[in-house]
Amino acid sequence: MIPHLHVEGLTKTYGDTAALNDVSLAVAAHDYVVLLGPSGSGKTTLLSVIGGFTEPSAGRVTIAGRDVTSLGPAARPTTTVFQDYALFPHMSVEKNVGFGLKLRRVAMPERRRRVERALEMVGLAGFGRRGIHELSGGQRQRVALARALIVEPEILLLDEPLGALDLNLRRQMQDELLQLQKRTGRCFVHVTHDQEEAMALATIIVVMNKGRIEDAGPPQRVYARPATRFAAAFMGESAELAATVISATTVRTEFGDLPVPTTAAPGSDLTIIIRPENIRADSSGATPLGQARITEAIFQGAHYRVLATSESGQNFILRLPPSAAPAQGAVLTLSCQEADLVPV
């Protein structure tokens, strides 16, 4: 497969600090890529380099087989939906959406038809003559999407597009973004710091930290078997067990020798993570995790989020059904399955 978007060895330095440090990534044409990371992780810089707004200090960007590294934003087959939408305030909705077509010298009747179709696609049919100031946040977001998609870019770049919306609207826009991506069949690259949003949208999650890619892959894999401790922590909570490698198949922990395949050298230390939903509050799992006392039980609607600590001081996070009504101070017997032990 020739990747649709291919970045190789991208580095961007500002003085002494590296906003991007040797970043490489290859994604297919139908992918919904989410760049996920805390602020300052380099995700926005990466998006900006792909869009042509920031010139990399080193590295290459290839889109649909064409090296675009030296091209400016106007010459690239990408368009961007900006964080605060960056709509043209002095133009009507249809003028905003039709701007890219006008620059491409698309004749008026054709332009009008395509603008109408684009507005229909984002659910704003009939809004063409309105001014930007008459629109709500969600509607502006849709205009920005229509304006960027109408020129049929190879890649649509989205810079924290849902950041300014309230929770309900954000959920709704997530669904619409997914549908849009499927319907247009284009590659979307979306930047966010919200891990839930990333999982809801992505076919590929790219976890970034300090200018590097920590992990990249399908959300299920990145969540269940993260490549690094940072990726594990950023994707969600887990219990962390300290372990020492004994052999290629075994690690030693305070709960005995556990069957964990690893490529780390014998004698080296590593961390085993267990996601909360994989810890059982009984001995039904093949791997016993000893006993722990509940220090806190927080009701979260569908489940209790339970924090527990063993006598040796090992902390656990697990989920219990509301029917279990866990009480602070109660002692649980914990276990899990071998497959749920993930070395990072």
Partner: protein, 258 residues
């Protein structure tokens, strides 16, 4: 209560001091007698009629419009472009260049006028309205520059990025995105430059001979003695400038409330 009365009295005195001469000028432009001095007889539009049928005044009025229009348009265009470069690009000695652009504001009009006259004649051009236009651009462009620069913020930068992203050239962005976005400031800058050009005497006086502007004609009328016709012309000029300033206020205020 007492301080309040004192405060209002003080205010009345201040405004009286500022506006009484203008008020008197306007009042005696409606004089029906031959001298713009008390007692006031009238009102009569006799002197307005005289002013509007005075060829010198009318052609000076046209010249002033011409100089004001051209010099203000040029000032705003150059100031806008300079401000855009200053706001959007990084280059060495940026601060120094900004100071150099602003500096003409501090140079006396007398120096600008004399300098222009000397330079123009050294280059073989006699005094003309073109020289006056150049002089007014010199004194007004820094003002237009400062007004535009204050309006070009980071918010518009994102919007300009969006336009570039969709394929727009820099020239296109400047004239179909940036300029319309700061249109109120551009119009305000134009009106201010126009008002200053409309009133400017020294540069216009030094650099014109036969085609003169309104302030120069009025000055020569005054040398011939007091005459309500001068009052009428002055009142007319005043109303014109006041109208422009009002426009500036409207545009700037509308911008602030938006």
């Amino acid at each position: 209560m007492k301080t309040r009365i004192a405060a209002y009295g003080y205010m009345a005195l201040c405004y009286g001091f500022i506006f009484l001469p203008v008020g008197v000028l306007v009042l005696f432009s409606f004089q029906s007698g031959n001298l713009p001095v008390p007692p006031f007889n009238g009102p009569s539009l006799r002197w307005y009629e005289a002013a509007f049928s005075d060829d010198r005044l009318v052609s000076a009025f046209a010249n002033s419009l011409l100089v004001g229009g051209f010099s203000s348009a040029l000032s705003v265009l150059l100031g806008f472009l300079a401000a855009y470069g200053m706001a959007r690009y990084d280059f060495p000695c940026k601060r120094l260049i900004e100071i150099l652009i602003i500096l003409p504001l501090a140079v006396s009009y007398l120096l600008v006028g004399m300098g222009l006259l000397v330079s123009a004649s050294a280059l073989g051009f006699g005094p003309s309205l073109v020289t006056v236009i150049i002089g007014h651009v010199v004194i007004n462009m820094p003002l237009a520059f400062a007004i535009c620069l204050a309006q070009l913020g980071e918010h518009q930068r994102k919007i300009e990025y969006a336009a570039r992203d969709l394929g727009a050239s820099t020239a296109r962005i400047l004239f179909s995105i940036t300029a319309p976005m700061i249109a109120p400031a551009l119009i305000a800058a134009f009106c201010l430059c126009f008002t200053l050009s409309w009133d400017e005497f020294l540069i216009a006086f030094l650099n014109t001979r036969f085609d003169v502007t309104l302030p120069v004609v009025i000055w020569s009328l005054l040398r011939g003695g007091l005459n309500p016709e001068t009052n009428a012309a002055g009142a007319f000029i005043f109303l014109f400038s006041a109208g422009l300033i009002l426009l500036v206020e409207v545009f700037l205020l509308r911008k602030r409330n938006a």
